[in-house]
């Protein structure tokens, strides 16, 4: 997986910029792809690097979406301020939840995060006065980004706004995962028992990773609420939590460019398959996921690096 980690960021960025000119009529779709890529990257910091699974990560995505929407509805319409507030509040929520998430094993984590997801969904549903309940929130308007760039109907501002956020998140996570802290997370994934022997405080590391991951997921949610002018319950529902896991798996969990491709590939597949068969598209997704796990061994990133290894005549 290392081979394609190196230097894959620039081609991806060029492809993203090129898509602005190649698919001008799909800018809002591309915007959504960037946002999902951010969300998937946030999630994969946990699954792919620290080896911590979660079935409730949309909680933070939704928290960010509602934070941005509520702020805008109360007059704080500058998007970047909303974004930072979502980052902080979602990160704070994650920090508060670490105590019950980080302990235990994968199974308890799955159940606990699933439970948290259902609780938060119901809480958001009940708090109609704040969230609009099942109707969602759309009675807010965003101001121009940094007071300069107005959101336009074609989605040009949204495109660049989300792409800029994606680039920042990508660079930040790249830096983080190659730092000693990132190595420690991978050590935890590989052999948690051995980590104290090298002086690593496992719980604190996991809490830090969970907080960062929750914050960035919230940032992604805020971006979606701001650029679609809508926040709704499905943004923190189970389906979104499950989808982000599938994106990471399809792309190659643990590989930053792989996960970005996974988010794009998954969204494209979902779109294409549901156009083909609105009723049975889950079947197609299921098959592709199984192929990516069993045949590609490590998703898109695993497949590409296996191919590269073969081309270079290794192994």
């Amino acid at each position: 997986m290392r081979l394609i980690r190196i230097g894959a960021g620039l081609p991806l960025l060029l492809a993203a910029v090129a898509s602005f000119f190649l698919f001008p009529e799909y800018l809002s779709l591309l915007n959504t792809l960037f946002i999902l890529a951010i969300f998937a990257l946030a999630y994969d910091l946990l699954q792919g690097h620290a080896g911590v699974v979660s079935l409730g990560h949309a909680v933070f995505f939704g928290m960010g979406a509602y934070t941005a929407a509520v702020l805008a509805a109360h007059g704080v319409t500058e998007p970047v301020v909303g974004l930072l507030a979502a980052l902080l509040l979602s990160g704070l929520l994650a920090l508060l939840l670490t105590r019950i998430v980080v302990v235990g094993n994968d199974l308890t984590r799955l159940l606990v995060t699933l439970g948290i997801g259902f609780l938060m969904l119901e809480a958001a549903n009940q708090a109609r006065w704040l969230t609009g309940g099942a109707d969602g929130m759309s009675d807010f308007t965003m101001g121009p980004v940094l007071g300069l760039f107005r959101f336009d109907f074609a989605g040009e501002t949204a495109f660049w706004y989300s792409l800029a956020a994606l680039v920042l998140v990508y660079a930040f996570l790249w830096r983080l995962t190659t730092s000693p802290f990132g190595l420690a997370l991978r050590g935890i994934r590989e052999n948690v028992r051995r980590m104290p022997a090298i002086g690593a405080p496992v719980r604190r590391h996991l809490a830090t990773a969970y907080t960062i991951s929750g914050g960035i997921a919230g940032l992604a949610g805020a971006l979606l609420a701001q650029t679609s002018n809508f926040a709704s319950l499905d943004m923190l529902g189970f389906e979104r939590s499950a989808e982000v896991m599938m994106m990471a798996t399809l792309g190659g969990t643990g590989s930053i460019p792989g996960v970005v491709l996974g988010a794009v590939g998954f969204s494209y597949l979902k779109d294409a398959l549901s156009a083909m068969s609105p009723k049975y598209w889950h079947l197609g997704i299921g098959l592709v996921l199984m192929l990516s796990v069993f045949v590609l061994r490590g998703g898109i990133a695993g497949g590409v690096s296996a191919l590269l290894r073969r081309l270079r005549g290794w192994e």
């Binding site: 991978r186 028992r193 104290p196 090298i198």
Partner: protein, 231 residues
């Protein structure tokens, strides 16, 4: 003041007692060998010092300070380094990453690890699971040294290694102790190797210290040691 002091330690796992009222101490810079048959509690002693076994009674002091309640990772930060028997190299980290993940401030760094074992530098881009047993042991030792310990606990470091590798490791350990002056506790089945590397030795049987003495004396009168370690 002793660097590490174990006093009346009773420890084990769950309800099982493995060590009974064990007492021993290690001075700064001293080399201690812990000998004994399989299952007498040698590894448990290491685990108890590191905070991975259950302590029923007794005291554990580091430079005079009680550390019985200090979590395992913080003991490493105090200066206790442990090379576990299983080596436990992280398989999907490269050799270099395996070293860097353990790095803590201090005189020993990447450069020193590579000087010590040039083989590790040659293999620094290899994944941890693509190493021979000897290389794994070198890496495990260096990874622990990267935490810059004052005391190095080595659990059966020569197990399953070719004699030529054992010699290399022994020479390195000797040099390390002479140059950097840190204390070592070495647990070994191969009593002669361990005695040759240490100043003092204790022999354990059924969770207790049954024999204690200077390594040179024990080597000179090896029969009394053999009585306790012969299978």
């Amino acid at each position: 003041m002793a660097l590490l002091e174990v006093e009346g330690l009773t420890a084990g796992y769950g309800e099982a007692v493995v060590l009974e009222r064990m007492s021993l101490s290690v001075e700064d810079g001293e080399g201690l060998a812990v000998l004994g048959r399989n299952g007498v509690g040698k590894t448990t002693l290491m685990l108890a010092i590191m905070g991975h076994a259950r302590r029923f009674a007794g005291a554990l002091r580091w430079q005079g300070r009680d550390i019985a309640a200090v979590p395992a990772y913080a003991r490493v930060r105090l200066g206790i380094g442990w090379v576990p028997q299983e080596r436990d190299i992280f398989p999907s980290l490269t050799v270099e990453e395996n070293l860097l993940v353990a790095r803590r401030p201090g005189p020993f760094g990447l450069r020193d690890a590579y000087d010590m074992f040039p083989r590790l530098q040659e293999r620094r881009r290899n994944m941890g699971d693509k190493l021979s047993g000897g290389e794994q042991q070198m890496l495990a030792m260096c990874r622990t040294l990267m935490t810059n310990p004052r005391l190095l606990l080595l659990d059966e470091p020569f197990e399953g290694l070719a004699p030529v590798i054992v010699e290399e490791l022994e020479a390195t350990l000797r040099r390390l102790r002479a140059e950097k002056g840190f204390a070592t506790v070495i647990v070994e089945q191969h009593a002669e190797d361990a005695l040759g590397l240490s100043d003092r030795a204790v022999v354990l049987d059924r969770g207790r210290v049954v024999l204690e003495g200077r390594s040179a004396d024990l080597l000179a009168d090896f029969d009394q040691v053999r009585r306790w370690i012969a299978v």
